[in-house]
């Protein structure tokens, strides 16, 4: 059955065969939801890989638009009656394809850019956020590429909030954690990881707080970042850090919360963000899909860069849910989700999209 040509993929042979082709993933896949194209949902991808393993088709360029068009949101795996671990299968397939010289150009580009610039946007100079970098402090705040180069206002708000809470924190000259490369067929860059580890540990901090859920996943889960964990550093996502704070402001505004896939389905962090938000805004409502069933914003897995039109269409489906519950504010805890949802929002949609930190800072300023 197996061709023995694809060692990374063949580790998942049994898993791929366990896909019974029931198609239930179609109800949850954001890419299918936006495109209506079954070749792009998890079943479509598993069928392609099944034929690859059977030697019927080649793992070549013709498969890129399916196998590289996945936000790795894991809603398929969460809902698969056969327990197929689709996100890790997709990762293995992409790595196999890159090894064979086949990839979406957006990801080849991202890999090269990270070698040269140390951030995914090929930016030369990071914003300075008017704060010192690299001294000693109790807490390191790690912004992430999106926070540092695209959603500067969200980062500014997070830092203002830390100031307001009188947290003893410091920024470092951070480079991309490079965790996302594993999702798109490449590997984490040890040189970048070493820089981050060295600079984080040099602060003498006991706590590392990340603004980005993906950085949090990388620091807490990836082997190359083990020295952070071995040093006894407590690693928290900003939402977990906030849940421990007494914010002391509140509002009557009607608010909902978008679960970022990297925080929710991938890390199981659902309640900490809600704890903070519900304390601020008792008029909190859930969207029709929430927690483990939350619809993806469409930005992950490199899809925003590689398939921008479909990525926006996915975000619009999520925004439809926001409209359905009729709120004033959509909050999220991921700068990348924020970025995509805010970009996709139509002028007619009157609610605001912001991070919890931005919302809190606004409330503090108004109070």
């Amino acid at each position: 059955m197996t061709s023995e040509k694809h060692p990374l993929l063949e580790k998942f042979t049994e898993q791929i065969q366990h896909c019974t082709r029931c198609g239930f993933c179609q109800a949850h896949c954001p890419v299918f939801g936006a495109t209506g194209r079954p070749a792009l949902n998890a079943r479509g991808k598993m069928l392609l890989l099944k034929e690859v393993l059977a030697g019927k088709i080649e793992l070549n360029q013709e498969l890129v638009d399916s196998l590289f068009q996945c936000t790795t949101c894991a809603s398929c795996a969460t809902n698969c009656p056969s327990g197929v671990d689709v996100p890790n299968i997709i990762k293995a397939a992409r790595q196999e394809m890159v090894g064979l010289g086949t990839c979406h150009p957006a990801f080849t580009g991202m890999n090269q850019v990270l070698d040269e610039y140390g951030n995914i946007y090929a930016e030369d100079e990071p914003g300075d956020f008017d704060r010192e970098r690299g001294g000693k402090a109790e807490v390191v705040y790690f912004m992430g590429c999106v926070g540092q180069y695209r959603e500067e206002d969200a980062t500014e708000a997070a830092l203002d909030l830390l100031d307001h809470l009188e947290v003893d924190y410091i920024l470092i000259d951070e480079v991309c954690c490079s965790g996302v490369l594993e999702d798109v067929g490449f590997s984490i860059k040890p040189a970048l990881a070493e820089k981050n580890i060295e600079r984080i540990l040099a602060t003498g901090a006991g706590t590392l707080v990340t603004g980005c859920p993906y950085c949090y996943r990388t620091f807490t889960g990836k082997e190359v970042y083990a020295p952070l964990r071995e040093a006894g550093l407590e690693i928290l996502h900003f939402s977990q850090f906030l849940a421990r704070q007494d914010i002391g402001v509140s509002t009557d505004l009607k608010v909902t919360y978008h679960d970022p896939c990297d925080l929710g389905r991938h890390c199981g962090i659902y309640e900490e963000p809600r704890k903070t938000i519900k304390a601020l805004a008792p008029n909190f409502v859930e969207m029709p899909s929430n927690h483990a069933n939350a619809l993806c914003c469409g930005a992950g897995g490199g899809v925003r860069g590689a398939y921008a039109k479909n990525s926006l269409a996915m975000a619009r489906r999520r925004l439809d849910e926001v409209e359905q519950v009729g709120v004033d504010i959509l909050l999220t805890e991921c700068n990348s989700c924020m970025h995509n949802l805010a970009n996709a929002k139509l002028r007619a949609q009157k609610f605001q999209v912001m991070t919890t930190a931005q919302f809190i800072v606004e409330l503090i300023e108004d109070s």
Binding site: G36, A39, P81
Partner: protein, 459 residues
């Protein structure tokens, strides 16, 4: 199909609604069965007019056309066995109107079953048949396979709710069948010819369905039995008791063992479990019915009887039932899952007969299903990469079909025939019936262009 045919289709549906990319062709080669064959292209039509033009082209150029919904069929019924053009109905997904005073909805075939239920919910109405694939399957597919579900015992199957259809015939003509009245005795029942026709006679482009007020009260009870006979007698007694349960499910010992071992379900070691739901429009109605059910359990010496005291407890019991398919499926890479059906009173005989056929053959199997309407799902697990195993398992299934037909049953209660059961049609249908079916197919589709190779209708 030649390139010029593809160009002609693009002119009909628009270039962006046509594909012959490999990723799509592979995807459209499969359904939920083990059958597969690649089409040559796929198109996403917007309306019946486009489909009509495509069928006229197909007739002129002689290429097969295979209508497709969500592709969740279990029999290969949407597998393009002879290549050709797949028509994915995903764009025809509008609910055209909901007319509660008429108890009707009109939908396009690409509407997902769950989307209709969601749209009906505010009015307190529902479309009662409830296929397990409801969150993804389309209503066009439901009609084309006469889909059933877990509530067949009380609410029947899709056929019982289809009032009228719009269908594009193989030659491109558009026909309107049935009537948008709750009753009609006018003319031959053309609607019923197309319900369950698996896309071999025409392409369904509009469906008028009857809807019901949704019950508001529910009760759930479960009982275990030391013997299959006792469980079978309990089912018979429930049928005699003057009530109709909305769900009456049976699971036999292999199923119970798999649930215990694979899903960690807290279940006794017994020969059979019965799981029942009663419903009504008042609490009293549902309660009255469940009391009758519990009495039937006790009269037949049930080893254990449990009643859900709350919605959470009921949900726990239903979660056990829902776990069957995946728990069993995880035992081997492949499985064959059938939907043989017998008169309700023959369920114990069918269960025992299937156990006898499958026990000791080296393949794990489970049998569960809808005892309330006689529909059982034997599921046998194997490794399909080993041709010997695939052959042996199919031989066992042959015997199951023979047994079912010997008991006066039918090959399919709710999945349809497709490719998987085409070779067995003669077991159930006599030569004259087969001849009539082929005559009908040949009259409507003389060039055998619509979904060819299915239901043993090819001449």
């Amino acid at each position: 199909m030649e390139q010029r045919d593809k160009e002609a289709i693009k002119r009909i549906v628009g270039e962006e609604h046509f594909t012959d990319e490999l990723i799509d062709l592979v995807s459209y080669s499969y359904d939920g069965s083990d059958h597969n064959h690649r089409p040559e292209a796929a198109a996403y039509p917007a309306d019946s007019e486009q489909i009509s033009r495509i069928m006229r082209l197909a007739n002129e150029r002689r290429f097969p056309v295979i209508p497709r919904g969500a592709g969740t069929s279990m029999t290969g019924s949407v597998v393009p066995a002879k290549g050709g053009l797949v028509l994915d109905m995903v764009r025809m997904n509008r609910i055209l109107n909901i007319r509660v005073p008429d108890r009707q909805v009109v939908v396009q075939p690409g509407v997902v079953y769950a989307a209709l239920q969601k749209a009906l919910a505010p009015s307190g109405f529902c479309f009662p048949p409830d296929p397990a694939s409801g969150k993804v399957c389309t209503l066009g597919g439901n009609v084309a396979t006469n889909a059933g579900g877990i509530r067949g015992a009380k609410y029947g199957v899709t056929r019982d709710y289809v009032l009228a259809l719009e269908v594009v015939l193989p030659d491109g003509r558009i026909v309107h069948t049935g009537s948008k009245c709750m009753k009609s005795s006018s003319g031959l029942d053309l609607t019923r010819i197309f319900v369950g026709s698996e896309g071999v006679l025409g392409i369904i482009t509009e469906i008028t369905l009857k809807i019901n007020p949704k019950p508001t009260a529910f009760r759930t009870a479960m009982a275990s039995f030391e013997t299959l006979r006792q469980a079978g007698q309990a089912v018979t007694d429930i049928m005699h008791s003057g009530i109709l349960p909305s769900v009456l499910e049976i699971m036999e010992e292999n199923t119970i063992r798999v649930l215990r071992e694979k899903s960690g379900a807290d279940l006794p070691e017994v020969a059979a479990l019965l799981l029942v739901e009663t419903d009504g429009y008042t609490e009293g109605e549902a309660e009255y019915a469940v009391e009758k059910v519990v009495a039937a359990f006790q009269d037949n010496d049930a080893k254990t009887v449990s009643r859900a005291g709350s919605q959470e407890e009921a949900e726990k019991l239903w979660a056990i039932r829902r776990a069957v398919g995946s728990a069993a499926g995880s035992l081997r890479p492949n499985n064959l899952s059938e939907d043989v059906t017998v008169p309700i009173s023959k369920v114990p005989q069918l269960l025992e007969g299937i156990q006898e056929i499958m026990t000791g053959q080296g393949y794990p199997f489970v049998i569960f299903g809808h005892a309330g309407d006689g529909n059982l799902h034997p599921k046998i697990m194997f490794d399909g990469s080993d041709p010997k195993q695939a052959r042996e398992v199919h031989l066992l299934i042959d015997k199951v079909f023979q047994l079912t037909c010997d008991l006066g049953g039918t090959l399919s209660g709710e999945h349809g025939i497709g490719l998987a059961k085409a070779p067995y049609m003669h077991l159930e249908h006599d030569a004259v019936a087969m001849e009539l079916m082929r005559l009908l197919k040949n009259t409507l589709d003389p060039h055998n262009l619509l979904n060819p190779g299915k239901m043993a209708l090819d001449q």
